[in-house]
Symmetry: C2
């Protein structure tokens, strides 16, 4: 790719901003020497940091934004904060100055601002947050991770379509299998919402990829390449999986510290154990993508470090370089377009424009 892409970066979002943001940008600058970055935040604090990170400084322009959207700020208040770093970074995407934005700040605010300023793609009623999680059979795409706490059948179908396109782009699959998360795999299980969504998907152009209902344990088993669910369940499931993996990891550390023999055992097995640790490292999976918007919006975990933030920037770069939104648009036209007219339960997709 010879085109130059620009990513806007919210320098002030997250628990350890702006330090880890600039340090992460420095790592990203090495990986993407052809890219340009618009670093948005408190200039007096950013200048000394950039003097320490030369690679970052070379590829970025700083745009001053005096305010910060805190983690506890409600989306409605965030929408009024026009000089906040997150807002100014998002404005840059809406204005076409940047192809995408990365922020480790307040998720609710980021989503609300993105929806209002960047706007959703035609045919999408609600953007969704998608992420990658490890499984026994390779990486798995999961969505929604918390953008929509309540979803109807139509939302779930849209998520399936967006998850399909996302998995093709980031996992490089030609026909990713798609599972709908439920409390059982039998057809009659769950509520109307999931049963209706399954019915629509079974009759859709991606029916051949639709594997039906999957359960919680299927996420890490890698039963399907894409796991579709509402934002409440998806958020809880992702954090639960991370928590469970962390618990086993901690118990394992205790085992290897629990006596002389175990310590010796660790020394012998260290190579493999380190590889396992690296493979499960949450930083490798950092960067949830907000799908369904007129621009690339990536949310980094608020508590991540420079390496994790750089990974979120990699994800954004991937989306931009692969012209991801164009693929989403095509996928939607193919699947949701016809379906929306036939089955939108609340009429939102067929409401007259006037």
């Amino acid at each position: 790719m010879s085109a130059t892409f620009t990513l806007a970066v919210d320098a002030m979002g997250g628990d350890h901003a702006p330090d880890i943001v600039v340090a992460g940008l420095d790592i990203a600058a090495e990986r993407h020497p052809g890219a340009r970055f618009l670093l948005v935040g408190d200039e007096p604090r950013l200048a000394p940091l950039l003097s320490r990170y030369q690679r970052a400084a070379r590829l970025c322009t700083v745009r001053h934004a005096p305010d910060v959207i805190g983690n506890d700020m409600k989306p409605t208040a965030a929408l009024r904060s026009r000089n906040a770093s997150m807002r100014v970074a998002i404005d840059a995407v809406a204005a076409g100055e940047a192809e995408g934005v990365v922020s480790a700040g307040n998720t609710g605010a980021l989503l609300a601002l993105a929806k209002i300023v960047i706007k959703t793609l035609p045919g999408i009623s609600r953007p969704a947050m998608a992420g990658i999680t490890p499984s026994a059979r390779g990486d798995v795409v999961m969505l929604d991770l918390g953008a929509n706490v309540a979803c109807d059948a139509r939302n779930l179908v849209e998520f399936a379509v967006m998850g399909d396109v996302f998995a093709r782009a980031v996992l490089g699959l030609t026909a990713p299998s798609i599972g709908l998360l439920n409390v059982g795999s039998e057809e009659q299980k769950g509520d109307d919402r999931v049963r209706q969504a399954a019915e629509v998907l079974r009759a859709s152009p991606i029916a051949a990829q639709f594997a039906g209902f999957v359960e919680g344990h299927d996420i890490t088993a890698g039963t399907t390449d894409v796991i579709v669910t509402d934002g409440f369940t998806g958020n809880v499931a992702l954090k639960t999986a991370e928590g469970a993996a962390k618990l086993v990891g901690e118990l394992l550390r205790q085992v290897f510290r629990s006596g002389v023999l175990s310590r010796i055992g660790y020394v012998f097995a260290r190579g493999g154990l380190e590889r396992l640790r690296e493979w499960l490292d949450p930083r490798r999976y950092n960067g949830a993508v907000m799908l369904g918007l007129n621009g690339v919006v990536v949310k980094s975990h608020g508590g991540t470090d420079a390496e994790g933030f750089a990974h979120a920037m990699d994800v954004a770069m991937d989306m931009v370089v692969h012209r991801f939104n164009e693929h989403i648009r095509e996928g939607l036209a193919r699947v949701v377009g016809p379906m929306a007219v036939a089955s939108a339960p609340n009429g939102s997709a067929v409401a007259p424009a006037g």
Copy 2:
């Protein structure tokens, strides 16, 4: 305890019934020599099994039931199957012949039959399924695990009360802390349902135990002793946690098989690793309790083995011996009674009896 208690056992429910049921009963008979068991199922198949398990045979009476409720049978069909082993076992509880029932069969059928035949406690609108799961700070009670896929605020409050009593009984705590599962810990997070439930709990007699919202990772962190959520999210979260722990375990096995050094390491660390494996053994956590009914109903995992089934029987015995339902009744009268009148959003709790 000198009183003799009787447990009804559905001999035909589960993937490996009746073999593992009778083998599990044999283990339980050794642990609870003062108990009596009513083994319900296909007598011609049970007789030869019991001749091999003498301890079980000594403490149990067989009641013939020719039919079986399959895993795919819908609850409505299950309700019509009056000669099924599960039904006859539940009938024994309703008739006062047994204090509780254990089944590894169809969960939806078990719940529907229990609700209709044994009936719910006064003041409970919906029974919930509760289980125990390991955390970094000891065992944690989680509910609902799938009995109610859709819940309102009032259901969640009832679950909190029942979870409180359950944790006192099974974890031996005097004032268990209670968390409400949500997508974030801040007060404004989540949907109306969880926010309303939190509001009611903050003003309730168990307010001092209510720790507010918790997130997915708090389950295995052991942030609170009780985790309250709807049946959809709870079911997915529990299976996700089990799946994630299993994935790490499998990866670990691969590490220890991956080369000579790792194999040597395993030999040295084996003692601790075996203890870890035992601690996380899902059989140790087998046996979900259906709370809120006029009798003890325990659901064993359908795929468990004899040891796991015996554990589910231990759980049922625990509930019966501790006169658990009397405590639930007291807890409900204290918390839900006054609250129901004040806040039931759909009026179900205050509907006139006529």
